[in-house]
Symmetry: C2
Subunit: 320 residues, 2 copies
């Protein structure tokens, strides 16, 4: 996956050029704070590779990919306010660093900027119009996903179907539009557009479910373990366990318990494994990754397609 590192650096080199130095200084410091902190930049990379794999010039899809990445950043800033999360990427969250009012505004300004960047795509006005419309609809769906996610916190039970719809809206849609956007910009026909749309959505689903798995797989790999369990987050793993586990009552008692001890955390993790809930989620993530790769078969073979395949594999093999 060395190519990913190179592409990440490439995108990081470009992204700050889209965020102007401007007045009022406090607003623009807040606007640039999180984009400057880096990230994998998978959305722009996927847009670029999808464009190339569909027969276009990948460079042309980078601005749209960056528009998606900036939209992603805006949702992180607002989500952290809503979820009262105080840290992001090992730094104070934007609202902790700049205050809540400026954080709300910085998110709004980034969202506006995303549309500005999307209109700068080097493509026909007809294509630009389609991209902007897709970006707008997608953004509204992300809001729906976040509202569902917040609703789950208060719900006694969450159906698996509802959970999958939530992560589709909140996470997978952005990958879907990265890959489909690349295909649209390439000028490819409906079949390739749909193949890449499906590819992106399935990668996004795999990514999110694998992320939840990492929380339980734990120890020895990069991610801090058990934070979903401590917070009582209704992940696919938990939803499965509450349906299938023989230890439901004990699980419900401990999951999300305030001041959970390390022993209790271990007990929960063991229960999630004994009920095969971790395996269930892992297998589902693998299936999404496989479906993603199957969709690529409709594209010409070549380096871009191979790299997209590797990204789909990376989604369920990464350790952080």
């Amino acid at each position: 996956m060395d190519f990913l590192k190179d592409f990440t650096e490439k995108i990081n080199g470009e992204i700050m050029g889209y965020l102007p130095e401007n007045e009022p200084a406090k607003l623009y410091e807040a606007v640039k704070y999180l984009p400057a902190a880096g990230g994998k930049r998978l959305r722009p990379i996927m847009a670029m590779l999808a464009c190339e794999a569909a027969g276009g010039n990948g460079e042309n899809a980078i601005p749209f990919g960056i528009a998606l990445e900036i939209t992603h950043t805006f949702t992180l800033i607002h989500d952290d306010i809503m979820d009262r999360d105080e840290e992001r990427r090992g730094m104070p969250a934007v609202h902790k660093k700049f205050g809540e009012a400026t954080a709300i505004l910085a998110g709004d300004a980034l969202f506006a900027k995303a549309f500005e960047i999307a209109t700068g795509t080097d493509a026909s006005p007809e294509v630009v119009k389609t991209l902007v419309r897709n970006l707008a609809v997608m953004s509204r769906e992300i809001c729906e996903g976040q509202q569902m996610d917040m609703g789950f916190e208060e719900a006694d039970e969450v159906a698996e179907e509802e959970f999958l719809l939530m992560i589709e809206k909140k996470t997978a849609k952005m990958f879907e539009h990265a890959a489909m956007g690349g295909a649209i910009i390439s000028g490819a026909g409906r079949e390739k557009q749909e193949a890449l749309q499906n590819y992106g959505r399935n990668v996004g689903m795999a990514f999110q479910i694998w992320d939840d798995c990492l929380d339980v797989i734990g120890k020895g790999i990069g991610k801090p373990v058990g934070s979903d369990i401590r917070e009582g987050k209704k992940t696919l793993i938990f939803i499965h366990a509450m349906r299938e586990s023989a230890e439901k009552e004990r699980l419900a008692e401990l999951y999300g318990k305030e001041d959970m001890t390390d022993d209790e955390l271990d007990e929960v993790m063991d229960m999630l494994k004994r009920s095969n809930s971790l395996d269930y989620a892992k297998e589902m993530a693998l299936r999404f990754s496989e479906t993603a790769r199957k969709n690529l078969e409709k594209l010409e073979e070549g380096r871009a397609r191979e790299m997209l395949e590797e990204i789909a594999r990376f989604a369920v093999e990464r350790e952080k």
Copy 2:
């Protein structure tokens, strides 16, 4: 101004059609709550009339005008959170009614919807691309204006120039883009576009400054009086008085004072009148209104142009 009432009803009849019934229900209740509460709808009306006055079919500019109105609504929702305002249009603010998290999301969803609506404009893709880009840049400038406004609260002194730049960004830009957008959609050339752009911006400036005047003119007219004074808001009137008044010290002492008595409020209002600060602001509002009307001379005479003239007059004659 009877035509305004008719047009307001017309727009009110259309605007809810753009806001879908959708899931999650809580999000969409919050999304529709403020748009359903009505308003003057001056932005869509201005877009429609500007389009017609520039030689186009006014109906074609209504979706873009509604996109601006929805953007305006989104900014009100987020501003109320930032400013800790608990009421809006005589009802609990969105964040009081639905909670802050859902209010942030409802604003975001409305903002996304504005772009979706703008892409539905019945015009060439090239025109749509221009409109969307303008909407994006304008929205970012509104964020800049709000950040400036928040900065003024903490500042000891605000220069008149800074104040005027703030209201230009926060308020006048939206009127500017309503009128210019109408011109762009009409297909009119650069000269008419610029005339309507200047018209809109000047109406917006007149509107905002007149709004501040109404806070002091007081008694007997619709608006609750003195709320800017009680909150210590740095209006043009206050900025002028702190420069010109012979009673600066007493004014600084009382302005924005906690638990201000009615007598103290009267004293402040008298000081603002004695220093001619109210008159100064009134005259400036009148000048902006006049400049707006002068710009209309570049358009064909006719009913649409007359109505735009009336709106410019209304901006500085209205009593609420």
